[in-house]
């Protein structure tokens, strides 16, 4: 199939259009994961370490939000950022920033829920020892996050995988504008519908390669964690 050959050639020759799309995708997804981590890890730690009415319900909701449909998040962010929406004056709709916001919303529950589980399991184990060592609240959180760092890294990578692979949210809030908001997934959707298969397949190859690398990193992080800290 000639189209397959051209796809591979596109990838191997580091085609500028393809590279632009890949780098925008990575930038957007990494930025989204960074934002989600800054919110999700402290949020997970807070829910893990505190007891308040409605906590159980909160955990159930958080776990459910891990499966948020990207298009619904896209729609919600669209309504927020659209000209007549509450944040319309920011003028962010159809920009990479809007895509970061949408993906961050999508990924935050994943990171928060996984962080909550990790930190709470560790807390059950450490609680009395830390109390006996007279460790204050901030010290506890720092210790739990540090000792759970390998599992937390896995949570971040899971979030990244989700962000990089989704198409529904970015296509709605980014608009798939050529050279500006076109990501790997939106480009694949568009090029496939246009019949330009080489670019779509090339992007598909890159996307799968990235997912494999991310999973290899997750695996490596776990193994390193087991090796060095037991």
């Amino acid at each position: 199939m000639p189209s397959d050959l051209t796809a591979v050639q596109l990838v191997l020759s580091a085609d500028p259009e393809l590279m632009g799309i890949v780098s925008l995708s990575l930038t957007v997804s990494l930025a989204a994961v960074a934002c989600a981590a800054l919110i999700g890890i402290p949020l997970g730690a807070l829910i893990a370490l505190t007891r308040f009415p409605g906590r159980e319900a909160c955990i159930v909701v958080l776990n459910a939000l891990m499966g948020l449909p990207p298009v619904v998040v896209g729609l919600a962010v669209y309504l927020l950022l659209s000209r007549s929406g509450p944040l319309g004056s920011w003028g962010l709709l159809f920009t990479p920033q809007a895509m970061v916001i949408a993906q961050a919303i999508l990924v935050t529950p994943i990171i928060a829920a996984l962080a909550r589980q990790t930190i709470e399991d560790l807390w059950v184990e450490y609680r009395e020892e830390l109390a006996a060592m007279n460790v204050g609240p901030l010290g506890r959180i720092a210790t739990l996050i540090w000792d759970g760092r390998f599992s937390l890294t896995t949570a971040l990578l899971a979030g990244f995988g989700r962000a990089a692979a989704e198409v529904g949210a970015v296509i709605i809030v980014g608009g798939n504008i050529d050279g500006f908001t076109r990501t790997m997934t939106t480009a694949i959707a568009l090029e496939t519908s246009k019949g330009d298969l080489p670019l779509a397949i090339g992007l598909g190859i890159v996307l799968i390669a990235i997912v494999i690398v991310v999973n290899a990193l997750a695996w490596g992080a776990r193994r390193a964690g087991e090796r060095f800290s037991g």
């Binding site: 006996a132 060592m133 007279n134 000792d147 090796r227 037991g230």
Partner: protein
């Protein structure tokens, strides 16, 4: 100048702990003063672990009061405990001790010397880089003892410190306990081993169903137990 505050003596005044319908500690009065180790003995479920946790300040009694050096509600700054099943931090053996040193405010430049000394004391020299959670049960028990000592405590609570150790390690830990006690640290420990109680105790507290059945100097206790329960316990009969 700062007053020389001390956590000793630890005094229990009519301390009871009830959880739902269970009375776990029943009007316990105790005076843990500086001196030779106090050893808690009693059958399974008699409340030894619970008493140690209350004395450490980890659980609030539901009635009565506990004071440390005459003061109530004192955070465990000069106290340390080795739990029956200690939890190891997911770090190396040395880092587990360093964590306790940092928490106790030891100077970072002194850490390596402290770590070496403490690991040597409990017979774990050379184990520095091993992940603590990969150590055997007995090794973890000994690391937990070193970690507790890293806090430079006035009082050291030990919950069955030799329960999972082989005879040689038991002897080693008993030696550490004697050394520590000779340095002036008050040791309060529980054990199921009456031989160990005889070897280490200055004072014995016999618990049964959360109540102090008998307490006194070890010499008196073993020579002439006053209560029938104590006589039967020493004779190895089951207390029910």
């Amino acid at each position: 100048m700062r007053a020389p505050l001390t956590d000793l003596p630890v005094a229990f005044e009519d301390v009871s702990l009830r959880i739902r319908d269970f009375t776990i500690l029943d009007r316990v009065s105790l005076h843990l003063a500086p001196g030779a180790p106090t050893v808690l003995i009693g059958p399974n479920g008699s409340g030894k672990t619970t008493l140690l946790r209350v004395a450490m300040g980890l659980i609030e009694p539901t009635a009565g009061r506990v004071t440390w050096g005459g003061r109530e509600h004192i955070p465990p700054q000069r106290r340390a405990i080795v739990f029956q099943r200690p939890a190891m931090l997911r770090r190396s053996t040395a880092a587990n001790i360093e964590y306790a040193l940092a928490q106790a405010g030891a100077m970072r430049s002194d850490w390596p010397a402290h770590v070496a000394e403490l690991l040597g004391l409990v017979g774990l020299a050379g184990f520095e880089a091993r992940p603590a959670r990969r150590l055997s049960g007995g090794e973890q028990q000994r690391l937990a003892l070193a970690r507790a000592l890293a806090r430079d405590p006035e009082i050291l609570f030990l919950d069955e410190p030799t329960a999972s150790l082989d005879p040689a390690a038991t002897k080693a830990i008993e030696d550490v306990i004697r050394t520590v006690a000779a340095r002036g640290i008050k040791v309060v420990m529980s054990t199921h081993d009456l031989g160990e109680a005889r070897r280490l105790a200055g004072e014995i507290v016999l618990l049964h169903r959360g109540h102090v059945v008998e307490s006194g100097t070890a010499a008196d206790f073993f020579a002439g137990p006053k209560t029938d329960a104590a006589r039967r316990f020493i004779a190895g009969e089951l207390l029910i």
